[in-house]
């Protein structure tokens, strides 16, 4: 298996490292909408969670993300879950009564927060209200910044 096959790694990572996801304990209707949307990784690489709205240009297949190290790999899971919440957020602004979309939004939001904690404890804060800022010395200005080539 290619080490950087992120699709497979994404599922392995979630299955192996995500014990007792918080969302399993909540009374969410998980299945209903997730079947009709892309999963977070496949939505992320397309820039679109909604298969009926997906419209490709020039390239037959979406570009896979190929993280070069563990930090980038963990960040990709956060990127994917974060993207899923952004796209569902815009949808819910128009359809606030869609219970399935709301459940899915919260499922991904909670998963994202869990991965953020995991990432921040290892690599430093992603948000200025992160618990990782309790560490000495001040970690917010650590390199690299997101626009810098890695």
């Amino acid at each position: 298996m290619n080490k950087y096959n992120i699709t497979e790694d994404y599922y392995n990572y979630i299955n192996n490292n995500y014990n007792q996801p918080v969302y399993n304990q909540a009374n969410f209707n998980k299945a209903a909408m997730s079947n009709s949307l892309y999963d977070p990784y496949n939505g992320f690489i397309r820039g679109n969670m909604f298969p009926d709205l997906y419209n490709a240009y020039k390239t037959a297949n979406p570009y896979e993300i190929r993280p070069m190290n563990e930090q980038a790999e963990l960040l990709t899971y956060i990127d994917a879950l974060s993207f899923a919440t952004i796209d569902l957020n815009l949808y819910l602004d128009i359809y606030p009564d869609d219970r399935d979309a709301l459940a899915l939004f919260n499922q991904y939001r909670i998963q994202k927060n869990e991965y953020m904690k995991k990432y921040e404890s290892k690599y430093g804060p992603l948000l200025i209200n992160s618990d990782a800022l309790e560490n000495y010395p001040w970690a917010w200005d650590n390199n690299p910044w997101p626009w810098q080539n890695k």
């Binding site: 992320f44 690489i45 397309r46 820039g47 679109n48 909604f50 709205l53 997906y54 419209n55 490709a56 240009y57 020039k58 390239t59 979406p62 570009y63 993300i65 980038a72 960040l75 990709t76 956060i78 990127d79 974060s82 993207f83 952004i86 796209d87 957020n89 815009l90 949808y91 602004d93 128009i94 606030p96 804060p125 992603l126 948000l127 200025i128 209200n129 917010w140 910044w145 997101p146 626009w147 080539n149 890695k150």
Partner: protein
């Protein structure tokens, strides 16, 4: 207020210096249908949206567009990193160097500086939403032109992502416009 998240919405890691593409990409930084204009346009229009749906959608899309400004800026910054004066001149960026050295500066692809005239606001939410739908379509077309101009996957991947977001934003603006027309707000 806004809270900064220390990551890009979509990763940018460019390995090949390409100053011509950097110049072309400025269309989506400081051009009329660029990300900066889109972000300011939507955030500014939200004050005259008639209900919670409109206020939410314009805030949230305006916020996402700020993240797109950051993606485009990261691409231009990485594409021009370490460029010599000769290389900048050869790519048509000699005038840019004269005024801005290696700094980013929001212009369009030709070098015309960003102007607030790009921030359309009529106070009429139907007119504004239909204008936004058209702006999203123009931005989609511009992304397709940019994708036509390169074969570098480091550029094509984020461009394809950004182009797809224009399609979603167009769709949500259209749904909001149709909702208002149907409801006769």
């Amino acid at each position: 207020m806004w809270l900064y998240e220390k990551k890009l919405e979509y990763p940018v890691n460019i390995t090949k210096k390409d100053l011509k593409m950097a110049k072309y990409l400025m269309a989506q930084y400081g051009g009329p249908d660029g990300e900066l204009a889109a972000s300011l346009r939507y955030i500014n229009q939200r004050y005259t949206m008639p209900d919670e749906k409109g206020r939410a959608l314009l805030t949230d899309i305006g916020t996402e567009e700020l993240a797109h400004v950051e993606i485009i800026s990261a691409m231009i910054s990485q594409l021009t990193a370490g460029a010599t004066i000769k290389e900048l001149e050869d790519a048509g960026l000699g005038a840019h160097f004269t005024q801005h050295d290696h700094a980013l500066f929001p212009t369009d692809a030709v070098g015309v500086p960003f102007t607030t005239a790009y921030i359309e606001a009529t106070g009429d939410y139907i007119a504004d939403l239909e204008s936004n739908m058209a702006a999203e379509q123009r931005a989609r077309a511009t992304y397709e032109h940019l994708m036509d101009l390169t074969e570098d996957p480091d550029l094509l991947a984020p461009l394809a992502f950004l182009r797809q977001r224009e399609i979603i934003h167009y769709q949500r603006f259209k749904e909001l416009r149709n909702y208002y027309l149907k409801k006769k707000i």
